[in-house]
């Protein structure tokens, strides 16, 4: 039952209860994977669905992600190497010339909420930084954000650089002016209109 309580507490944005119940499950000897997948991650999946349906607002999604993260912090030291790595690693940032980070931060939080290892390079990120960090971390996906129409070309040059470096790392893009058509045009592997969709896109690319 406590797994369900963790799930409910994430949906209630209740960080204190998530922490307490997660600790209780750990103490009771419940499998870490079960707490993670059935309690925390599946709750965030529902949060994502509710957000996409328009039933939750961005701040509520963020609060849920924050509550989820509090539980995740307790689990992290206990995760086996394989479990920790199994979900995948994402390098994320807002492209060169663009200082907008709200959307990018949302995606990063949702990725963490889905159990991915997230390396956030921040805003105004140089093309080289994406490439070298992804190589260092052995990233599965590079996620690029842009709000300005004028910085969209920086997405194209970053994707080009990844390909020229001969890396197998996948790329996804997002941001207000970005469309699926633009993603296809510049050769991105994935696109999403919102943060929960970005999680889905990454899951598809890694699976």
């Amino acid at each position: 039952m406590t797994i369900q309580e963790i799930y409910n507490a994430v949906l209630a944005f209740d960080e204190v209860t998530v922490t307490a119940k997660t600790q209780a499950e750990i103490d009771a000897g419940t499998a870490v994977d079960t707490i993670l997948n059935d309690g925390l991650i599946s709750a965030m999946d529902e949060v994502g669905e509710k957000f996409s349906a328009g039933d939750l607002f961005v701040p509520e999604m963020l609060m849920a992600a924050q509550a989820m993260k509090a539980g995740l912090e307790l689990l992290k030291p206990l995760l086996s190497g394989e479990t920790a790595r199994s979900k995948g690693t994402i390098v994320i940032g807002t492209v060169k010339g663009d200082l907008h980070d709200i959307g990018k931060n949302l995606v990063a939080m949702m990725m963490e909420g889905a159990g991915f290892e997230v390396v956030d390079l921040g805003v105004d990120v140089e093309t080289d930084a994406f490439v070298t960090t992804a190589a260092e971390k052995g990233a599965d996906v590079i996620a690029l954000s842009a709000l300005l129409t004028t910085t969209m070309p920086a997405m194209e040059s970053t994707i080009k650089a990844v390909k020229e470096a001969g890396m197998s790392t996948k790329t996804i893009i997002g941001g207000a002016p970005v469309t699926q058509a633009f993603a296809d045009q510049i050769g991105a592997d994935g696109y999403s209109a919102d943060a929960p969709g970005a999680v889905e896109a990454v899951r598809r690319l890694i699976a």
């Binding site: 996409s52 963020l62 209109a193 919102d194």
Partner: protein
């Protein structure tokens, strides 16, 4: 959050001097020009004559001394409460408190599934009632369409029955004749637990179109109006002259004539039953000068209806009038702007009971399910304006700004969580604010299609009768219920 009963009075098309001028002009009209009547009203005319009205020797003109009019108008209650049976939609009609709801006597409906225009039925009336019951910003249910599929002799009882079964909101309708009124009062008393209970908390009321503009009493409606006065049933003194045909072409002339008609009607009601609950029912409108039909969607409808509220408020009587009409044939962009204009102006004006405000198209000829959904949104937004902007320490949020600090953001502030669903209007879902991508994924639906989806969803919820089964059986034994 309820949007009913908020205070308007922030749009005043008439200056205090103009109100005085119009009021005086109306009293002069009643004194000098007077009103006329048809045969059958002898008792009413005799009542007026004995109170001091001058009836000319030919017996066709009644002139009112202004003292008589002012004395009787002062007896009309300044507050009328129209009750609801759902425990949450009582209407406190007084001062500048604003309520908006349905109205009309449309004979056509745009079919929810085919989108085609067809004649309206008793079942349509019932379904629209259920739809309105599920829409939060439509504050009352005034019978909006005529059941053209049943005999006219069965209208009165069946229209009220369909409305009372479908919704717990206040129900108002016109009545065909005095016999119909008797039946309706009997039926409503069965629901109330007795006629005295109904009188104490009237959850039905009647529209009586006593005045045939210009300045003529309608015999049948005047009699029904007086019968309602005697029974304590609240009445709306509906009169709807059209500038250019049944009132002068000008707005001021239309208002002066209409206010005179109202003062005459109020005088009759108060002489019939002092203190009788009534709504000043002036509905100023315009003729379509190209066709001589009714022009519902003009922006001046909003202006004149706000002005008539000022004239009603001047004599301290709550008012019934009109907003939200459109001459558009479909729930299209024109319908949107015409309705938004007159509903917003009406709400800002402070009219107490604005009918026609939801669901109507083609002036007063056609209703559409989806239009009720759209108009619920328009009414909700217009009433939101009346809430104004709260400026206090909590809303100024200086401590929150300080905590977040320069270059931070407010997305996860508890203050944001507290106010994000209440500070700004949250609609019924018909307004699209999705990204293009999401909108395309949802089927690229336009306003009308989104509204139809919401209407279907409401109508698909399990039916809930507002008439208890035992009483329903008694009503069906007593009356010829065709629903």
């Amino acid at each position: 959050m309820s949007s009913k009963g908020l205070s308007g009075g922030i749009y005043k098309p008439l200056s205090p001097e103009s109100i005085e001028t119009l009021h005086d002009a109306s009293l002069t009209l009643l004194e000098d020009t007077g009103i006329t009547y048809e045969s059958g009203l002898e008792e009413t005319v005799a009542m007026l004559a004995s109170a001091g009205a001058r009836v000319d020797s030919g017996g066709s003109r009644i002139r009112f001394p202004r003292e008589l009019v002012l004395e009787q108008a002062a007896k009309a209650p300044s507050q009328v409460i129209l009750y609801a049976r759902d425990g949450k939609n009582d209407l406190d009609l007084t001062e500048d408190k604003v309520h908006l709801g349905t109205g009309g006597a449309a004979v056509k409906i745009l079919d929810l599934e085919t989108g085609e225009q067809r004649s309206s039925t008793l079942k349509d009336l019932y379904e629209i009632g259920r739809l309105v019951d599920g829409l939060n910003h439509i504050h009352f249910f005034l019978r909006p369409c005529i059941p053209t599929d049943i005999p006219e002799s069965e209208y009165d009882v069946n229209m009220f029955y369909a409305c009372l079964k479908a919704t717990g909101k206040h129900v108002m309708s016109g009545v065909n004749d005095e016999v119909g009124l008797e039946k309706i009062v009997e039926m409503a008393s069965m629901l109330a637990g007795g006629e005295e209970e109904l009188r104490q908390k009237p959850f039905i009321s009647a529209i009586t179109s006593f005045s045939i503009s210009p300045l003529k009493l309608c015999t049948q409606s005047t009699k029904i109006m007086q019968a309602c006065n005697r029974r304590g049933i609240p009445v709306a003194l509906s009169a709807a002259p059209m500038s250019g045909s049944t009132s002068p072409m000008t707005m001021a002339g239309t208002l002066a004539q209409l206010h005179a008609e109202q003062l005459a009607g109020i005088t009759i009601c108060q002489l019939t039953q002092p203190g009788a609950p009534l709504l000043y029912g002036g509905i100023p409108g315009m003729a379509n000068m190209a066709t001589m039909g009714y022009r519902g969607g003009g922006v001046e409808c909003g202006m004149m209806n706000a002005a008539i509220h000022q004239l009603a408020a001047h004599i301290h009587v709550p008012n019934y009038n009109s907003a939200g009409l459109s001459d558009a044939k479909l729930p299209d962009a024109q319908a949107g702007w015409e309705k938004a204009m007159t509903v917003l102006l009406g709400a800002m004006g402070g009219s107490n009971y604005m009918h026609h405000s939801a669901g109507m198209l083609e002036s007063m000829l056609t209703v559409a399910h989806e239009q009720y959904v759209i108009d619920d949104e328009i009414i909700g937004m217009a009433c939101k304006v009346l809430r104004g902007i709260d400026v206090d320490a909590e809303h100024l949020a200086l401590d929150i700004i300080d905590t977040v600090g320069p270059a931070g953001n407010f997305m996860m502030s508890p203050h944001t969580m507290k106010y994000m669903r209440s500070e700004y209007f949250q609609g019924n879902g018909v307004t699209d604010s999705k990204s293009r991508h999401q909108w395309e994924q949802g089927g690229s639906l336009d306003t009308r299609e989104r509204a139809r989806g919401i209407a279907r969803k409401i109508l698909q919820t399990p039916e809930k009768s507002y008439i208890p089964e035992a009483i329903d059986q008694k009503i069906r034994q007593k009356f010829n219920i065709l629903l």
